[in-house]
């Protein structure tokens, strides 16, 4: 092993891959039935955390950062003057195996700049996955990025070896995408997504009947949207995400707040997208997928951006005072879920407790309900908070209670 050369490549190609935030390893279950190495756990495991608190689950690298494209938001773009490097297939395989055996990682997330043409690049990515699975009997998690413009045959093969495939849309509106990435269109990303969706669904049905039908991308597909690099609103972003969940059966949409790593003139001169916007989008995404909210519940064309001061559920509750208070002892589960500070687990506990008797405030506290928010929107056997129908007065109460606490401390200091 040439340690110095590998170190150099690893630092260049890990650094170039780190702005892709779709690193989760969850959602797959690949058991170890060949006596080889590893398995993919349904939960996904974070093996470490960076100093900015992000989960490190996968060895996330580019095969190479040489690229013939010139996307303005990307450090690896052709016109950017950066150090370039390229791994061999063998090097990626070795690193993956050796990190995995030491329990450093759940698996590999492999992406690449387009170094000759789409198919040559895609073929090389597929070869890494195939070698890991067949030669090394590796059953850990593999996520491959699909190269825009790669052939269906190669994408299909990728699905046979990988747990998850992703095709990044990056820029939320087609017009903006074409402005900053002249070689790309939305259609170019949606077409392979459609193909993958069809194949995943088809083979899943087949597997239900024929147990030995091949495993095909068991952790499904995901995509990433860059937030704040273009003027696209949260309404546009969530609308697109919702469509992708509904029509392409995506497992996850990732939102990546734009970090101004690029000095390209096509990009905004503004600073980083605030982390809080990224967080609010994830919270909204969660409400869309698991809490029965619609995009229209959260945003409208007149109010196209999320409230950065309030979480999206609290913001919703303040816009709809007519729906509250929700009666703890009688409300149906879908209404309890619309109470700020009450999550799915708490709803389950409340329903279970109701079978035994009346539920009071102190019970909720023990169940893990965030009373600091929930108490304004609930009633207990008819008794509700006095401010329940005064969103104007509730809003300041709900914004950053921490800030108020700090002010109080000052007062008494």
């Amino acid at each position: 092993m040439n340690e110095a050369r590998l170190t150099e490549k690893l630092s260049v190609l890990a650094d170039a891959a780190k702005y892709d935030v779709s690193c989760a390893s969850s959602g797959s279950s690949r058991s170890n039935h060949n006596g080889g190495l590893g398995n993919a756990s349904k939960m996904g495991i974070c093996h470490s955390y960076t100093s900015d608190g992000r989960c490190v689950s996968l060895l996330k690298i580019l095969l190479t950062n040489h690229c013939i494209f010139d996307c303005a938001y990307c450090v690896s773009r052709r016109s950017n003057d950066v150090r370039r490097a390229a791994f061999t297939v063998q090097e990626v395989v070795d690193l993956t195996m050796n990190f995995y055996r030491r329990n450093y990682i759940e698996g590999l997330f492999l992406s690449s700049g387009i170094f000759k043409d789409a198919d040559t690049t895609m073929e090389r990515l597929v070869r890494v996955a195939k070698e890991l699975r067949t030669v090394h009997k590796f059953n850990g998690y593999i996520h491959l990025k699909t190269i825009p413009g790669a052939s269906e045959a190669l994408i299909h093969e990728a699905g046979l070896w990988a747990d998850r495939l992703s095709i990044n849309i990056e820029i939320p509106s087609d017009a903006e995408l074409q402005r900053v990435a002249p070689e790309k269109t939305h259609e170019q990303a949606i077409k392979p997504m459609r193909y993958l969706h069809k194949t995943i669904v088809g083979l899943k049905e087949e597997r239900a009947v024929v147990k030995r039908a091949p495993l095909f991308a068991p952790a499904g597909q995901s995509t990433q949207l860059i937030v704040g690099a273009t003027p696209d609103s949260d309404h546009t972003i969530l609308g697109l995400a919702h469509g992708l969940y509904q029509q392409q059966g995506l497992r996850r949409v990732y939102y990546s707040g734009y970090v101004p790593i690029s000095t390209d003139v096509r990009m905004p001169a503004t600073g980083s997208t605030p982390m809080v916007r990224e967080n609010r989008l994830y919270q909204s995404d969660w409400l869309l997928r698991f809490y029965g909210f619609s995009v229209e519940d959260l945003l409208t064309p007149e109010q196209p951006d999320l409230d950065l001061d309030l979480d999206p559920k609290t913001a919703y509750a303040l816009r709809h005072p007519e729906l509250y208070p929700v009666e703890v002892n009688e409300a149906p589960p879908e209404m309890l879920l619309r109470v700020p500070g009450i999550g799915q687990k708490s709803v389950r506990l409340i329903l279970q407790a109701r079978r035994h008797g009346r539920v009071r405030m102190e019970h909720l506290q023990r169940m893990g309900v965030v009373l600091k928010r929930a108490r304004y929107f609930l009633s207990f056997s008819g008794t509700a908070h006095a401010l329940v129908h005064r969103p104007d007065r509730l809003r300041p109460q709900l914004i950053a209670p921490l800030r108020q606490k700090a002010a109080q401390l000052d007062l008494f200091a």
């Binding site: 092993m1 340690e3 590998l6 170190t7 690893l10 630092s11 890990a14 650094d15 891959a17 780190k18 058991s31 170890n32 006596g35 080889g36 190495l37 590893g38 398995n39 756990s41 939960m43 495991i45 974070c46 093996h47 470490s48 955390y49 960076t50 100093s51 900015d52 608190g53 992000r54 989960c55 490190v56 060895l59 996330k60 690193l95 050796n98 990190f99 055996r101 030491r102 329990n103 450093y104 970090v259 980083s272 982390m275 506990l349 409340i350 279970q352 407790a353 079978r355 035994h356 008797g357 539920v359 009071r360 019970h363 023990r366 169940m367």
Partner: protein, 262 residues
């Protein structure tokens, strides 16, 4: 109905800390109709002069009987949850477990999520499983010249029994040892078999074994992993509080990427 725990009749129970031991305590409690003031693992912890102390000797037959009837009332999954809580190795949890089993055997509401005991155990199950998941994530193996992969951990609770299956399934082709240096024992795996092993060198395990060294490429892979870890960091967004919240500092000394140098 819930029994009342106080009264002259109540006393302190001392047992050996094992799961069958705790079940024997429950058996004794019902048999002798004397409620528990406390359940402890060490007689010296009882300083109360006014109440009796009952030292319970673990009895497999009684334990099996309690286990059997509890399982038919609660189901296998719930029993596993209780056993998981017991791995917290804490007197307050032992006390909750005895209370909970008493509720179960006297026909009380074991699913009443308003109840302090029911919710308390639910919390403890969460704490212990959280530690289990962290250990599954934070174990770092080192390859040695004898072909054995070794790792040392210091978990807050006794989670080795909980993580054995995970590592057996994940690394079936490796011979490995995971040592709990706080409790002085470890897991040894070979060919799909996991065995508990005790350490002869006091409590602290000597890993790798004497005269055995790290394998040839070990330091190179550690260095590469550190390089990777540094490269994926975004220092402009540094948030050490968040990092420590996810990855408590007490684990750092066993995680190569968090150890200085290299």
């Amino acid at each position: 109905m819930r029994p009342t725990w106080l009264g002259m009749n109540a006393r302190h129970y001392v047992y050996d800390g094992s799961w069958p031991g705790l079940l024997t305590v429950v058996f004794t409690l019902f048999n002798e109709k004397r409620p528990a003031l406390s359940v402890v693992r060490d007689r010296l912890l009882v300083t109360d002069l006014f109440h009796d102390i009952r030292e319970v000797v673990t009895d497999e037959a009684s334990a099996t009987r309690v286990q059997g009837s509890a399982r038919s009332l609660l189901g296998a999954r719930r029993m596993r949850d209780l056993w998981t809580c017991h791995l917290a190795e804490r007197a307050d949890v032992d006390r909750l477990l005895v209370e909970f089993l008493t509720i179960a055997f006297t026909g009380g509401g074991v699913n009443d999520t308003r109840d302090v005991t029911v919710l308390g155990l639910r919390q403890w199950r969460k704490h212990v499983s959280h530690e289990k998941h962290q250990m599954e994530a934070f174990v770092r193996f080192q390859e040695n010249t004898d072909g054995v992969w070794t790792s040392t951990i210091a978990p807050a609770y006794d989670v080795l029994p909980l993580i054995a299956t995970h590592f057996r399934k994940r690394y079936p082709d490796m011979e490995w040892v995971i040592a709990d240096k706080l409790r002085g024992y470890g897991l040894y795996h070979r060919n799909g078999q996991v065995l508990p092993v005790r350490f002869v060198h006091e409590k602290e395990p000597l890993l790798p074994a004497p005269h055995i060294e790290a394998a040839k490429n070990e330091s190179a892979y550690v260095a590469l992993w550190k390089t990777y870890f540094r490269s994926v960091d975004i220092p402009e967004r540094r948030n050490l509080k968040l990092q420590m919240q996810h990855m408590p500092k007490r684990h750092w000394k066993h995680m190569v990427e968090m150890v200085a140098g290299g």
